[in-house]
């Protein structure tokens, strides 16, 4: 009985334990594995990332030079980033903002587009 009373009183005067999330965002940690980004300038569409990905979320179309990532399958393990021979894949430290629909990120090389 009344074991939590000091804790309750303390919580009344201290500041909130939670953040007002969309307005106040915590800084992410230095080594955080966040959003996956592909630098299309460096990418040579070799398809190693697609082969290495454990959750099979990346698809690479070598012929048309299209790199696709199914965002909702990706678990940010960073295997593809380590495997990338051209170092075109990187991970930001921040997370991607929530989405309303299951989106697929698609990146196409510009030269292939023009040709």
């Amino acid at each position: 009985m009344f074991k939590l009373t000091p804790s309750i009183l303390k919580n009344l005067v201290t500041k909130k334990a939670t953040r007002l999330y969309p307005f106040e965002v915590r800084e992410s940690y230095e080594n955080n594995r966040g959003e996956l980004v592909n630098d299309v300038e460096k990418c040579n569409f070799c398809g190693i990332c697609a082969a290495k990905c454990p959750s099979a979320c990346i698809t690479v179309d070598k012929k048309n030079a299209i790199w696709q990532c199914a965002l909702f399958s990706c678990l940010f393990c960073g295997i593809c980033v380590e495997a990338c021979p051209k170092k075109s894949l990187t991970q930001k430290t921040e997370y991607r903002k929530p989405l309303q629909e299951k989106e697929v990120v698609s990146i196409q090389m510009k030269t292939a587009n023009e040709g």
Binding site: I8, Y29, E30, N31, N32, R33, P54, L75, I79
Partner: protein, 358 residues
């Protein structure tokens, strides 16, 4: 007396995951319980056919979110044993640190949910606030909060810097204080005792007969803990299994509470003895043969049977998760109990249905 059949689950306020129990009730006393599983069966064992054994380390992490690191560690240890790879000592110590962090956040999650199962919601929030600190440590050191993906065959992918170790230990000191401040609330409270003492009693003989593992077994006074096998660096650490004699829900709760504090101690020991050196070694070749790998997860012993035939793809990976072993015992605990105690008893074995069904 006339029997009534009451469905429990798959959607129920205390259940974090879908499971269905068909309870046969006479008045308010349960006479029988029949489970129905399969709501989250994903067939992860089938993936050995299309994922090579390096990728499988990340696939088995997906079996369960809460104990992801331990699944990967268990699998990696199995393959390392098959390929006769000796992991660097630093990697072994780091595996201990991360696996104990996982045990802590799983136990704190469970302590919160258990408090919630008998309606003590403020305690639930207190425990989850503490858990957030552990999640932050996970995020800062491994890069991910839940599925940490640090294990590979032959070692680890991430290292800890001395600053991180110091910061982690100071955070853990806070965590230890916060957990101890809740001890009297959880164990001296009249209502908590009323709801948990003498409910779902399992004797040591019955626990062994039903093949239970983990805190459910240690809560009945049997000191069985796979960490005494000395995998990773546990053989160098000072460690004794936590046991409680009573075998009821209160006992199982106490085991988990004490293990949380024990984990802080183990992390401190491992961090103090952390040797210098590499964190992984290159692994060449392909595994061949059969191996069994056992690791103590927060919920109990996980059992991996791996069969390989020298191919890139393994023949079979069989995962026996702790809840799969504790589940038959749960069904025998229910008859004779009141319907209102079912949530507490079901929660007391810490059911992880994603683990059970894979």
């Amino acid at each position: 007396m006339r029997q009534t059949i009451i469905p429990f689950g798959p959607q129920h306020p205390v259940l974090t995951e879908p499971i269905h129990l068909t309870l046969t009730v006479e008045d308010e006393v349960i006479t029988g319980a029949i489970p129905a599983l399969g709501f989250v069966h994903r067939g992860l064992e089938k993936l050995v056919e299309i994922k090579d054994f390096h990728q499988m380390v990340q696939v088995v992490e997906r079996v369960c979110g809460i104990c992801s690191m331990l699944h990967a560690m268990c699998f990696a240890q199995g393959i390392e044993e098959l390929m006769e790879v000796e992991v660097p000592l630093r990697a072994k110590y780091l595996r201990v640190i991360w696996s104990e962090l996982h045990r802590m956040h799983s136990h704190l999650l469970w302590l919160g949910l258990f408090a919630d199962s008998f309606g003590f919601e403020s305690l639930f929030m207190q425990f989850w606030r503490i858990r957030e600190k552990i999640m932050n440590i996970n995020e800062a050191t491994t890069g991910n909060r839940v599925i940490v993906s640090v294990n590979i065959i032959g070692g680890l992918r991430r290292d800890l810097t001395p600053e991180q170790v110091r910061w982690m230990l100071s955070e853990l000191t806070d965590v230890g204080k916060m957990i101890r401040s809740l001890e009297s609330t959880l164990f001296d409270d009249y209502t908590v005792k009323k709801r948990t003492r003498g409910k779902g009693v399992m004797s040591a003989e019955k626990a062994i007969e039903m093949g239970t593992v983990g805190p459910a077994l240690r809560g009945s006074g049997v000191p069985q803990d796979m960490r005494t096998l000395g995998y990773a660096a546990f053989k160098d650490l000072d460690f004794a299994p936590v046991t409680e004699p009573d075998g009821d829900c209160w006992s199982r709760c106490r085991v988990r509470f004490r293990e949380t504090l024990q984990s802080i101690d183990l992390i401190r020991q491992a961090a103090g003895r952390l040797p210098k050196g590499d964190i992984n070694i290159k692994v060449k070749g392909r595994p061949e043969g059969e191996v069994i790998s056992r690791v103590e997860q927060p919920r109990g012993e996980v059992f991996y049977y791996i069969k390989a035939s020298g191919d890139k793809y393994l023949d079979r990976v069989r995962i026996r998760t702790p809840t799969f072993a504790n589940f038959p015992a749960l069904l025998t605990l229910l008859p004779g109990m009141y319907l209102s105690d079912v949530p507490v008893i079901v929660m007391s074995i810490d059911p992880c249905i994603s683990c059970t069904e894979r």
